[in-house]
């Protein structure tokens, strides 16, 4: 799974505490991917066992030591290799909405059309939020980080657009089918 590589990618930039890792993750890709601390620590555990990450202890007053995680040379090599490999697994067409469609479409088209409407509105609102974020980014200082965030936002916009276009097509085809029956 690529949580592992996201952790390696973040640690390749600098050494971090577990909770800093989470905030860095949220800042970079949090809009599209949410992780809890449990997932972060279990991933770090596995990375340590594989020798890709190690940690130092940092003493704290009145509190237990903190772990600062660091990427190992093996970890860097693994990350570099992963980055250079294209993704062969195409995004799966598996979505709650598809399942709903399977169970609805046969009987009565009205609820399907109503659901499509609601779903489209939701996507449009989501796209509007993403666009607002993009506009805010554009007003900011720029730089490589901002460019990466913008490209991720664009990916979100294009995916939502594809979904809206497909829903619109569903609507048109379902209506055409109703008209034919009449």
């Amino acid at each position: 799974m690529s949580i592992k590589y996201a952790m390696l990618g973040i640690l390749a930039e600098r050494d971090l505490h577990g909770y800093e890792l989470k905030s860095s993750f949220d800042e970079k890709v949090g809009d599209f991917w949410s992780l809890n601390y449990g997932q972060i620590y279990s991933t770090l555990d596995r990375l340590e066992k594989d020798g890709l990450v190690t940690h130092d202890r940092e003493a704290q007053e009145k509190r237990p030591d903190r772990k600062i995680f660091r990427i190992t040379p093996d970890g860097r090599q693994e990350l570099t290799q992963w980055l250079a490999t294209p993704v062969t697994r195409i995004r799966a067409l598996r979505d709650e909405f598809f399942i709903k469609l399977v169970f609805m479409v046969k009987s009565d088209p009205a609820p399907v059309l109503a659901l499509i409407d609601k779903q489209k509105t939701l996507y449009l609102k989501q796209m509007n939020r993403l666009t607002q974020r993009k506009l805010a980014l554009k007003k900011g200082a720029g730089g490589n980080e901002a460019l990466t965030s913008e490209l991720l936002i664009d990916a979100g916009l294009f995916h939502a657009e594809a979904d809206i276009r497909w829903l619109t097509l569903c609507e048109a085809k379902i209506k055409a089918a109703i008209n034919q029956e009449k």
């Binding site: 996507y123 796209m127 607002q132 805010a136 294009f158 048109a172």
Partner: protein, 229 residues
Amino acid sequence: MIELRNAGKTYRQGSREVRALRDVSFIINKGEFLSIMGPSGSGKSTLLNLMGGLDQPTSGEVFIDGRPLHNITDNELTLIRRRRVGYIFQFFNLLPLLTAEENVGLPLLLDGLPFSEVKPRAAALLDKVGLRERAEHRPEQLSGGEMQRVAIARALITGPAVILADEPTGNLDSHTSEEIFLLLKSFNDQGQTIVMVTHDPKAAAYGTRIITLKDGAPDQDIVIGGDNP
């Protein structure tokens, strides 16, 4: 700002009637960026043409700045169209024999202003849309994205009450389209009211409000904007 009261449009072809718009009522407030979406034939262009006085409703009324577009002389209507409304079209609609600067200044030239007065204003707007170096180019010497920027500058030159755009990026690639939306949005941020018809949800998402049309009538009216989810 712009108000439609039960506006409708029925086209007649011989004995056949096409109800392109039925009983549409809504108000577009100053500073809004309204996106209009809907399937092909749902009446989007018809609606836009009514709002800009390019076409007359067959029923109901349209107002711009509180002034009716009905019961006025052709001459008055022409002046409103020229001075209070800026148009942006899918195919740019620039005059091929004029330079970019002359195209931008055209609405003012038609209004009788001398070129010496129009030129600096056209030049300033070309600068704002990032085309200072292209002022002397004719449309055939410009890319699609550049032509659309010229059209945007032309639409803005009269300081119109509203800009009406019909599929402004229908012929442009994604990146060029985005530059056009960012440009429109920047003018909207300065208070320019914009109404844009589009099939592209990415374009619609720049709006502060989205109205979808279905069979000649508004279906959904989604007011958005602000940063909070």
